[in-house]
Amino acid sequence: MRQTTASRRDVLKLGLLTGAALAGLPGCSAVPSRPDPGTPPVRGGVYSHGATGGGLKDTLEPYFPVTNPDISRCMQLYEPLLRWDPNYEIEPSVAESVTPNADNTQWTIRIREGVEFHHGKTVTAEDVMHSLATVTDPNNTGSGGTELATVLELNNSTVVDPRTIVLQLNSPYAVLDQLLAEYTVGIIPTDFDVSRPVGTGPFAYKHFVPGQLSQFVRHENYWDGPAWVDELFIYDFADDAAKVNALLAGQVQSIDNLPNYLAGTIEQQGASPLVSETGAWVPFTMRVDVAPFSDVRVRQALRLIVDRQQMIDQALNGFGILGNDLYAPFDPAYASDLPQRVQDIDQAKSLLRQAGQENLDVELVTSSAVGAGAVESANLFVEQARKAGVTVRLNKADANVFYGDRYLSWNFAQDFWNTRNYIPQVATSSVKGATYNETHFEDPTFTALIEQAKREPDPARRTQLLHDAQVIEYETGGYIIWGFKRQLDAYSNLVQGLEPHRYLPCSNFRFSRASFVRQT
């Protein structure tokens, strides 16, 4: 308690300092401008981040993060073997390398030398094995372990030496490294206890109140360069206005998920928006196994009805990238050569006529629970469909109804997905038995191509196989993917070091790289 008293005073002092700094600057430039990119970082200070959402469900569990603040905490405490860089490419983290054998059935993990847990123990092969066993525990599989558990044979895997493990798979899996780079597969020590959580991340646990805040201190021996700031607070914010006010008043230095319409306003008040590309999408989902969507001509017609740019401009306030009915835009195998689909009402009408559906009348189920852009794009779709003579009845369902009994069996609805690469995405959405196959897409040729690609060790040939698979989805799939969201966060001009990142919000929550700007 004494410690928290001291830090509370620090926070307050900082708040006052910020306030004073803001008020003290002369004349019209009453707010600080964005610092020069070249400004050297300063050590010290207490950094506060305002995270969106959270509540009593908040947890510090490494393998079961539920809320957005949970994810931001995971990123401070734990680290996976590999990680995603700002371009959404894999780079080493706790492991210095993870390499497959010739047929992708054995993967060798080489652990980085001298990576320390917060309690001082060095990471060994045993810790890694323990972590993988915990995340794939059949009785309590972590959210990042579901796919891993289907391929990993831990009992047949071997610890070669304290820094080397050979993982045995039950079938070839070409992109195991992508599964190991998820934040939900962090490495924990064998003596892990969630009441005093310990990992290898840049910040160590100090204090936690579910639904309110969490407090961390710098991990001095962090392998990737200790954090610039001494302490980190992550506050839960249920309300957008409170979150933005806290940023503008200098009580937090950054916030995630700034509402799109505020991007312009905060720039006049001493803060800067942070815009990142993402692979997150809010598709329309058509069930390919029920009429009228079982007719591929109807699906193609509906895809041609969509004015994608209008959806991005209006449903996402312009913060989006065009979609082409394909997902995983950052995957090296993304089929960017397929022609961009644009609105073509004549073609759509003609397809509907061929299918005998000139006066098509369908129900579209949406819900505000799907997230930003969902209801807005559904409304736009109703308008756009009218031009082609299609009547779309909008059913705005309550969250409990939308994700209730009929979730995954709506004929025509929406859903949300975050950034994923192609093979993991297919496994969760587009093959028989996939957990969230909203479109009931089960093309045998497609499935065969995917299976072949998972086994294919040669990257060029694998890319070709995945490209062929994407052509099938482009021509017959049940998704209408009109765009990918841009992530919008914000930070105070009194801090620096946050940069756009394609994986997670707010510079991948990498507050170890953030520092205060020296006041002159």
């Binding site: 008293t5 307050l12 009593l56 469900k57 639904g211 407090q215 607070f233 409170a242 006010n245 009580q251």
Partner: protein
């Protein structure tokens, strides 16, 4: 809650009426408390059956995961004793409520008492501090206004009061934050995030804006009611007589008018305080204040039935308790009503 209030009253009241009237007072109190308990019991029936007995709570709690994790379904059914009949569950819950065993939160498994305890205190502090600031302010405004009846001061005050009463509290809050914290000046904290999980009132500066917002939301109503009852009293014969007798105007105002105008004031203050207990949700959201309002919204969103039930009962208890207190105070301040009970 009610027990606490009544014991306070019981120690204080026998002093005033003559000794032989004691039993009449006792009877009156017993009746009032009986009614309060009955109200609360009816609330408990409503709260329980509206939350736990309608539909399948497990389905509501798990939502998307209901189909995919049968083991969690089983665990939750056991936790909520869903195998037993509704009536049995109700009486078990009521028994737990009365003995202080509030059950566990479904969202994170911790005891409800532990989760809501601090938040009840935080909300109570916010409401009480607001009341302490609001009551003298409202009475002061009412007195100035009544004193200057028909003059320009009164007119200006009335217009300002009506305008403020018409503004929703989130608009007031946002304006105050823009004025004092973000856009115009940077004087006060915009949100109440005291470091280290300490209660917000440990950092008094951060309490100023939430309290001010609530005062502005509530004071106009109270001020207007008190003003109109003051005017009524000032027009009465006995005030006229006091003036004719040469009692100075200041004393007329304080002794003769204000004391008699206080009763309607108490009633409206009680109503406003009771409203605050449940109605501070928006203020708590806007200032990230860790109180029961925000917690109730979160719990409803999580379908966290044990939490919702307890918080709903707490708010109901505050309503009943505050109204009971207001009735008692009104009786004590009204000589005619006081004697009516004893005779």
């Amino acid at each position: 809650m009610t027990d606490l209030l009544t014991s306070d009253q019981a120690t204080e009241t026998p002093v005033r009426p003559p000794a032989r009237a004691g039993s009449a007072w006792l009877k009156w109190f017993a009746r009032r408390i009986g009614l309060a308990v009955l109200t609360l019991w009816l609330c408990s029936v409503l709260v329980f059956f509206a939350t736990a007995a309608l539909g399948d709570p497990v389905r509501a709690i798990l939502g998307k995961d209901y189909a995919s994790s049968p083991e969690r379904v089983a665990a939750l059914q056991a936790e909520l004793h869903l195998d037993r009949p509704v009536i049995v569950r109700y009486f078990e819950w009521l028994g737990g409520l009365l003995t202080g065993d509030l059950g566990n939160s479904v969202a994170n498994g911790l005891p409800v008492g532990e989760l809501v305890g601090d938040r009840i205190v935080n909300s109570a502090v916010l409401v009480i501090v607001s009341a302490i600031v609001m009551i003298p302010v409202a009475f002061g405004i009412a007195m100035v206004s009544a004193n200057n009846r028909g003059k320009r001061t009164d007119g200006v005050i009335q217009i300002v009061m009506i305008t403020l009463a018409g503004l929703p509290e989130f608009v007031v809050g946002i304006l105050l934050v823009a004025l004092f914290s973000t856009t115009v000046m940077h004087l006060l904290p915009a949100v109440t995030i005291a470091g280290g999980g300490a209660p917000p009132w440990f950092v008094p500066a951060s309490m100023i804006l939430p309290v001010l917002t609530l005062v502005i939301a509530v004071a106009p109503y109270v001020a207007r009611i008190v003003r109109s009852s003051l005017l009524e009293v000032l027009d009465s014969d006995y005030v006229e007589l006091a003036r004719l007798k040469g009692v100075p105007e200041r004393i007329v105002m304080r002794k003769h008018a204000l004391l008699n105008a206080i009763v309607p004031g108490i009633q409206v203050i009680a109503l406003q305080l009771a409203w605050l207990a449940g109605g501070i949700v928006i203020v708590e959201y806007l200032f990230s204040y860790p109180g029961i309002g925000a917690s109730l919204v979160d719990s409803v969103r999580n379908s966290d039935f044990p939490m919702v039930q307890v918080l709903a009962m707490v708010i109901a208890a505050v309503y009943v308790g505050v109204n009971l207190l207001a009735d008692v105070l009104s009786i004590l301040f009204t000589p005619r009503a006081r004697t009516a009970i004893t005779s």
